[in-house]
């Protein structure tokens, strides 16, 4: 690999000791930067023989604490040097990429060829990598029409703890390493891709992935809809997602959130307390406009009104540059998860009671409540609390804990886990489910060297 790609200098180790969450963990003992699958394979073979714990990481832009080492003496494998597009197959409409490519880089290169992705990346997709997102079940741009990061996967290449290289999906054939053969995920045998997707890097290290691509849209439409209350907004949001009309369907769930992101709306229109923003992409303008009309009809039925397109356009064209401007409100404590759409009003009511109980506003905190239509017909619930005054950290931690407890009790399911959700999910996991997960870990990683302690599997 060359010594220039290996470092155990103290300052280097510190720079890899955190992700974008408030969580802290252990510094790695060494950081390595491979540039090929073969190098990753050699590293894992070496680690396996010498029982060295390893963790594979992308850009560590995650907000869940997943890519932070949990044990001592970890070799961290930084995959961001593996950032090439390996092939674009226009015949079967897939792109095969190295795991360390950023979503933004991939989107740009595809656009030049006339293609788009379905799921475009998490909201941190400027830096976020494909490998990181499919390991952590990311949700984000394009999820309303296409599902989350893992839903766009056709096949993966993963290095096992032994150093062996596994290729999944239609690449199962003996000696197969041709990208052309990666065109179908569900075929011939069990879906081995699914075993590794969302594994938080516990079963192997993903080095490449094949994703679905689509032609660039020739018609687009945007609409923002205002509602006086969350019940009406939720009904409209639900029906639009049920009808599969939107490429992206977003909700700002209370007046505070609107004021934080688009204050002009509340000064322009009276009695707007929730906004639903719709982004439509279609094969031509007429189809896009027709979908928009259908959305408008649904909105009117549920008591909403059209208020322009500023937010939906800004949201879509600022794709990965939305959350950063909120850093000024303080450091973020998020509670991202999935839930049935119908449960949104109860969630928001619960949050508001927590906000009152802990006097969040009075204590200088701020928050944003948003939701995104996901996949077939559910939503992500994103309530993020911002803490400016670090002397109030105790209050924040209490409120944050209580919110996560409430969210998971009120039908919520985290899409990613990490340190953010692990304590909450492990005390609720079904024993049989967990037993099978542990057995898989034992088979695939007998010496427990890959991302040890995550999910407390061994």
């Amino acid at each position: 690999m060359g010594k220039e790609n290996v470092s155990s200098e103290q300052f280097v180790l510190i720079s890899y000791s955190e992700d974008a969450s408030p969580f802290e963990g252990k510094e790695p003992q060494v950081v390595v930067r491979p540039h090929s699958t073969e190098e990753v394979s050699e590293l894992l073979e070496f680690a396996s023989k010498n029982r060295i714990p390893v963790i594979g990481v992308g850009a560590r832009s995650s907000i869940n604490g997943a890519p932070i080492p949990r044990v001592d003496n970890v070799m961290m494998i930084d995959l961001t040097g593996m950032k090439d597009i390996l092939s674009i197959d226009e015949d079967v409409m897939t792109v095969t990429v190295q795991a360390g490519i950023t979503w933004s880089g991939l989107i740009h290169q595809l656009k030049e060829r006339g293609y788009k992705l379905g799921f475009r990346g998490p909201y941190g997709g400027n830096a976020g990598t494909v490998g990181g997102s499919i390991s952590a079940n990311s949700i984000g741009c394009g999820a309303s029409a296409h599902g989350g990061a893992c839903d766009g996967v056709v096949g993966i290449e993963v290095v096992l703890s032994s150093g062996e290289i596994l290729r999944t999906g239609s690449n199962w054939k003996n000696g197969s390493n041709k990208r052309k053969e990666s065109f179908a995920r569900y075929c011939t045998f069990n879906d081995l891709s699914g075993m590794f997707l969302g594994d938080h890097g516990t079963l192997g290290i993903k080095t490449a992935a094949t994703l679905k691509i689509y032609p660039l849209p020739k018609g687009e439409a945007f609409s923002d809809f205002g509602f006086s209350n969350i019940e009406q907004a939720t009904k409209a949001f639900h029906e639009i997602q049920q009808s599969h009309l939107a490429e992206e369907l977003v909700m700002l769930g209370d007046a505070n959130s609107i004021d934080l992101l688009a204050s002009t709306y509340r000064s322009t229109f009276k009695n707007i307390n929730c906004i639903v923003a719709v982004v439509i992409e279609e094969a031509d303008e007429i189809l896009a406009q027709r979908r928009k009309e259908l959305c408008e009809k649904i909105v009117r039925k549920h008591g909403g009104k059209s208020i322009g397109m500023f937010l939906s356009k800004a949201h879509w064209f600022n794709m990965f540059n939305l959350v950063q401007s909120l850093f000024e409100e303080g450091f973020w404590y998020n509670t991202c998860h999935l839930r049935p759409i119908s449960s949104l009003p109860q969630l928001i009511e619960t949050f508001h009671s927590i906000a009152t109980k802990y006097e969040l506003k009075e204590n200088g905190f701020n928050w944003i409540i948003s939701a995104l239509g996901v996949d077939h017909c559910f939503t992500s619930g994103w309530i993020t609390i911002y803490m400016k005054d670090h002397t109030k950290k105790d209050v924040m931690i209490e409120a944050w804990d209580e919110l996560r407890e409430a969210e998971i009790e009120l039908e919520g399911v985290p899409y990613w886990t990490g340190q953010l959700w692990e304590p909450y999910v492990l005390e609720r996991v079904d024993p049989t489910f967990y037993k099978v997960l542990k057995q898989l870990k034992t088979i695939l990683d007998p010496f427990n060297i890959i991302n040890p302690m995550t999910f407390k599997l061994k």
Partner: protein, 548 residues
């Protein structure tokens, strides 16, 4: 115990970082601003590890403030690997203007010096400046030995301008100094050089020698203030940045500092000249960090290069405030010369990928370092300074005055005239607001960023100023089709104009006309500046029907 009192002063900046990683590994960014950000840290792009980009540096500084850190040689070397180019700051959206990591690195270097972690090579440079008034350990008396001894360049008393040559052009890049002098002479500019010109001290500040820097800054300003001429032209972007920004705390005078390109752009507005290359060449421009990101001069050099006949001007992908550094800044050229050259190789590769023949810069450090990084198989690719190429290609003075420097289309001229007649269109904006108007021949051209013509409207205390070319630091860019403009200039009132404007945005049509916008500042900031009211008036926040 080591005290990091200077870093401590900026702990708020360290705390505000959300660790999103945009400054670290970002691919090309997607946004309405068409941010040309791609892998912004030139040092990380060479050395690879997170520690070298802004997020990594901030994490390390955070640990330093927790007093849980051992200073060793590796760390000291790391502290001087940042070129302080500011690309990370431009990329960062956490606060308006971005988290200023170069400021944090300056603070760290000051703390290191205060705590006696002084590197020998830096001490030698300090000694050279004290002894010879230059960092190159060259004799003071040789400073202007390259000048034509038969001419008197030092008659400052009778000059309109002072030409501040700088140490690098005096001792290393004399080709730039000579080209600048020859060009100014050709143009008939009445300038003079300071006989006792001194080092500006930039390198001292970059290395953390703050006390020594202050002393030098005050002495230089005292000397300059004694001169009757108050207008100073710098061909060196580094010196300009130092005088204009770093001396700010000590400069309460009426001294005016210009970069050569700023001066020439103004001059050619009223004294148009012809410039012609003998053989057709593809010309690219490398934005020096000191001139572009730090001082905000982007348009002047581009305007000048576009005057070159028999050439095609090609923009690099990473340009203007998102330009990649050449690698020489922040003292890296002298502290880590190999690293500097590797960074230059990356920048040259960007130009070669675009098949550029001549990469032009406007800073001697950039020219030197980029030239050091030209690969062997570059097929005649060359790096030159803007003074050199202008001096080599200048032809003759044109007799007719250019009324709209750079504006080509009639529709653009009509639109500029129209907006000048209706300044009330901009009445909601706060003074200082500056917006670009870019006119496009087609939507495809907009997608490919091929502007037909551009101007910007600067809101002043009273009224507006309409200026050809894009602003150096526009709040946003309005993109308009020529069809939309043809209809907008028919309107007779602000209300009518706003309504039509909103129609073209809300209901765009390739045939009838369309308007779009690219935001260069954060939405919240723009709303506060009055653009929100403009959007309301334009019906961009449209109330279709009151259904409630």
């Amino acid at each position: 115990m080591v005290k990091f009192s200077e870093v401590e002063k900026h702990s708020d900046l360290i705390q505000i970082c959300g660790k999103c990683g945009d400054c670290a590994t970002s691919g090309t960014q997607l946004s309405t601003a068409k941010r040309h950000v791609s892998e912004p840290c030139p040092v990380k792009n060479v050395l690879g590890f997170e520690a070298y980009d802004a997020r990594g540096r901030i994490l390390i500084l955070k640990r330093i403030l927790e007093n849980n850190f051992k200073i060793d040689d590796g760390f000291l070397n790391w502290a001087y690997t940042c070129t302080e180019c500011g690309s990370c700051r431009e990329t960062c959206l956490a606060i308006e203007g971005g988290i200023d990591t170069p400021l944090l690195m300056d603070a760290l270097r000051q703390d290191l010096v205060k705590n006696n972690y002084r590197l020998k090579k830096h001490e030698l440079i300090l000694e050279s400046i004290r002894k010879h008034h230059n960092p190159y350990n060259e004799p003071l008396k040789e400073r202007f030995a390259f000048l034509d001894a038969a001419k008197n360049y030092f008659d400052v008393k009778n000059a309109d301008y002072i030409l501040y040559i700088g140490c690098t052009e005096s001792y290393r890049q004399q080709n730039i100094a000579l080209a600048t002098i020859e060009l100014l002479e050709h143009l008939g500019i009445n300038f003079a050089i300071l006989e006792e010109e001194n080092c500006c001290g930039s390198i001292l500040r970059r290395y953390g020698y703050e006390e020594e820097f202050k002393e030098l800054a005050k002495s230089n300003l005292t000397y300059l203030n004694k001169q009757t001429t108050k207008k100073i032209i710098f061909p060196c972007a580094g010196c300009l940045r130092t005088f204009k920004l770093d001396y700010q705390d000590y400069n309460s005078t009426d001294l005016q500092f210009f970069h050569l390109t700023e001066f020439l752009e103004e001059f050619f507005k009223t004294h148009p000249y012809n410039f012609k290359l003998q053989n057709h060449k593809k010309i690219g421009y490398h934005d020096p960090c000191h001139l572009g990101r730090h001082v905000g001069v982007y348009e002047a050099p581009r305007t000048l290069l576009k005057l070159l006949e028999n050439s095609t001007f090609i923009e690099l992908d990473a340009l203007r405030n998102y330009s990649h550094c050449c690698g020489a800044g922040g003292g890296v050229k002298s502290s880590n010369p190999d690293l500097a050259v590797e960074i230059a190789k990356n920048r040259n590769a960007e130009a070669l990928q675009k098949a550029i023949d001549i990469l032009v810069s406007a800073c001697p450090f950039c020219e030197r370092n980029l030239a050091d990084g030209i690969p062997e198989n570059a097929n005649g690719f060359m790096v030159v300074d803007i003074a050199e190429i202008l001096n080599k290609t200048i032809q003759k003075e044109l007799s007719t005055e250019i009324s709209h420097l750079g504006v080509k289309s009639e529709i653009c001229k009509q639109y500029m005239k129209f907006l000048g007649q209706y300044p009330e269109i901009f009445s909601d904006l706060i003074p200082g607001s500056d917006m670009d108007f870019a006119i496009y021949d087609s939507f495809d051209d907009f997608e490919e960023e091929k502007t037909m013509d551009a101007f910007h409207v600067l809101r002043k205390e009273e009224g507006v100023e309409i200026i050809p070319g894009k602003a150096d630091d526009a709040d946003l860019e309005l993109a308009l089709s020529k069809e939309a403009i043809a209809k907008l200039i028919q309107t007779k009132s602000k209300e009518d104009y706003a309504t039509r404007f909103g129609d073209f945005y809300n209901d765009p049509s390739f045939e009838e006309g369309w308007i779009d916008f690219l935001l260069h500042k954060r939405t919240k900031t723009l709303i506060d500046m009055g653009y929100g009211k403009f959007a309301e008036a334009a019906g961009i926040l449209e109330d279709e029907e009151d259904a409630l």
